[in-house]
């Protein structure tokens, strides 16, 4: 035993003061602000019973809203995965005038209030807007259709992909690319077989983050969506509508359904990161 004890990390009790009060305060604040309210959310649908909960989340209007929130987020996250990777690549590998400005601008969706993004996108894509006017002759309607939801979610999700891929691209060892090239690989082969596998886990993480954010997004979407029941009504809006009818348990049930989706996605995200670390 004594032999083994020598190899165990010695964890001397810290000499710094204040651990007890600090942890106590942090736990109390966390419980009051975050944990107790979330407990209310999870426990509230219990009054419906299991069959009641299932009845609420399988209402056609709820299912349509969940499908739209989930589907539009999936499409938007896929668009962001492609263009976010291009933006990250361009920012890391090339130099061009105004690069620093563009780099800072990528965070705009984090900083711009969602309602502002919502009214601005609606103004652009409405039939008489700058972009809507160009699309109308082509028969493409964006504002007040599910397509508008996708546009808003692309805006919201872009920084998640760029900011997860960018640091990985930056840390990529260029000697590996040189080695691939000197062994006769074409540039395209190097990109597909060397660079892409290296950034794939980060890309998937960014994709999942953008997706999770998109499912819950509200402010930027409700202006451009048109909010037609069964067509362009997102799940968070349905919560608001149920609350306005004082259907607390129903609103909480939709919320729990959304949180479960988010939880599953975070779980996948975690597994992906673990898988990445294992490689």
């Amino acid at each position: 035993m004594r032999v083994f004890a020598r190899f165990l990390p010695r964890r001397a009790p810290s000499v710094l003061p204040g651990f007890g009060p600090a942890l106590g305060f942090a736990l109390a604040y966390l419980s009051i602000i975050v944990l107790m309210p979330l407990a209310a959310l999870v426990l509230r649908p219990a009054e419906l019973g299991f069959s009641g909960f299932v009845a609420v989340v399988t209402q056609p209007r709820v299912l349509a809203a969940l499908r739209l929130s989930f589907g539009a987020s999936l499409i938007a996250a896929a668009i962001n995965a492609v263009f976010g990777m291009i933006v990250a690549w361009v920012l890391v590998r090339y130099s061009f005038p105004g690069k620093r400005l563009v780099d800072a601008l990528v965070d705009l969706p984090f900083a711009l209030p969602t309602a502002v993004a919502g009214v601005a996108l609606t103004a652009l894509y409405a039939p008489n807007g700058w972009i809507g006017r160009l699309l109308q002759p082509l028969g493409i309607e964006v504002a007040f259709t599910p397509l508008g939801v996708v546009v808003a979610l692309v805006f919201i999700g872009l920084p998640f992909v760029v900011r997860t891929v960018q640091p990985v691209l930056q840390d990529l060892d260029r000697e590996v690319e040189e080695a691939a090239a000197s062994l006769g690989a074409s540039r395209w082969q190097t990109i597909v077989r060397v660079i892409l596998p290296a950034i794939l886990p980060a890309l998937l993480t960014g994709f999942a983050l953008a997706l999770a954010r998109g499912v819950g997004e509200y402010g930027s979407v409700i202006f451009i969506a048109g909010n037609m029941p069964l067509v362009s009504e997102i799940a968070p809006l349905l919560i608001v509508i149920k609350l306005e009818q004082y259907d607390y348990a129903g609103a909480a049930a939709v919320g729990v359904a959304m949180l479960s989706i988010s939880f599953v996605m975070l779980l996948i995200l975690n597994l992906l990161q673990r898988w990445h670390r294992g490689h």
């Binding site: 600090a22 602000i33 975050v34 209310a40 309602a115 502002v116 040189e178 919560i239 909480a252």
Partner: protein, 293 residues
């Protein structure tokens, strides 16, 4: 979120430079695609806000801002941020002290809990407080009996704002303080400083830029939050209407100049936040947390 700018690696020999670079046409195409995407999805909406706000001239713009309801919304937004941000600042520092400076079981669970509000829809962030304090909530009957109003009043707006900005300061400080370790504090203590002196003179100066960074981001979110606040506010003009909610009300009344005038103030706030954030990353990047995910 932030990325450290690394010094470029030693430039490869010319022969290999061609082999590990892209041809000029590919490079230009990628730059055009990336910049085009950012222009279309980020720059254009931002420009549209200001152009719509000024579409009837600067006089109409100023007049739209100078209405009692708009001024009340601005005041309320400032008030809510002035309460919510310091609350989370204090929590962030204390939580980071406990988590980063001490070893204990359950630490990673605690960090996960702190991050929780970021993975919750804004609407749910408001909903949870309605479930607690609303007329049909857990504490609703008691609150009504004692004549305390939280939902559809300012306290509810503050609570929802604290919830959505909860993780910003803590998640910035925890990795930063972990990187810094405890040696400097231990030295100060062994030289006779007491706990408070050690915190104010050693720890705080070490984390001040990280702290400012976290405050900057949480302030931007606090002033711009829409979904969570919308659920608990009740939208009473002049009383429980914050700036983002006022944008919605004006927009739905087809008062586009008014809506975009208020929106332009919020867009300016976002731009100032981005400039300060970039300055902090550029000037004090080495004193910010390297990993923030």
């Amino acid at each position: 979120m932030a990325t450290e700018t690394k010094a470029p690696a030693a430039s490869p020999a010319p022969a290999t430079a061609a082999a590990i670079g892209e041809p000029a046409w590919a490079r230009n195409l990628l730059i055009a695609l990336g910049l085009g995407f950012i222009g279309l999805f980020l720059v254009l909406p931002l420009v549209a806000v200001f152009i719509e706000a000024l579409s009837n001239g600067i006089g109409a713009y100023l007049a739209a801002l100078h209405t009692p309801d708009t001024l009340a919304a601005i005041r309320l937004t400032l008030l809510v941020a002035a309460i919510a941000v310091p609350c989370n600042l204090v929590f962030g520092v204390i939580a980071a002290w406990a988590i980063a400076k001490f070893e204990f079981t359950g630490r990673s669970v605690l960090i996960t809990f702190i991050d929780l509000p970021f993975s919750v829809s804004p609407v749910i962030s408001g909903l949870v407080y309605v479930l607690l304090f609303g007329a049909h909530g857990w504490f609703g009957p008691w609150l009504v009996a004692n004549n305390v109003q939280i939902i559809f009043a300012v306290p509810g707006i503050v609570l929802a704002t604290i919830f959505v900005t909860f993780p910003f300061v803590a998640r910035e400080l925890i990795p930063l303080m972990q990187e810094q370790g405890t040696e400097e504090e231990e030295a100060a203590l062994s030289l006779g400083a007491n706990g408070w002196q050690t915190f104010w003179r050693v720890t705080l100066p070490n984390i001040k830029w990280g702290l400012l960074y976290g405050v900057l981001l949480s302030n931007a979110r606090a002033m711009g939050e829409f979904g969570a606040v919308s659920v608990v506010s009740g939208h009473i003009r002049g009383l429980t209407n914050t700036m983002p909610l006022h944008v919605e009300i004006l927009y739905n009344e087809y008062n586009f100049v008014g809506a975009f005038a208020v929106a332009s103030l919020l867009a300016l706030l976002a731009l100032v936040t981005l400039v300060l954030k970039s300055l902090l990353e550029w000037r004090f990047g080495h004193e910010l947390a390297v990993t923030r995910h």
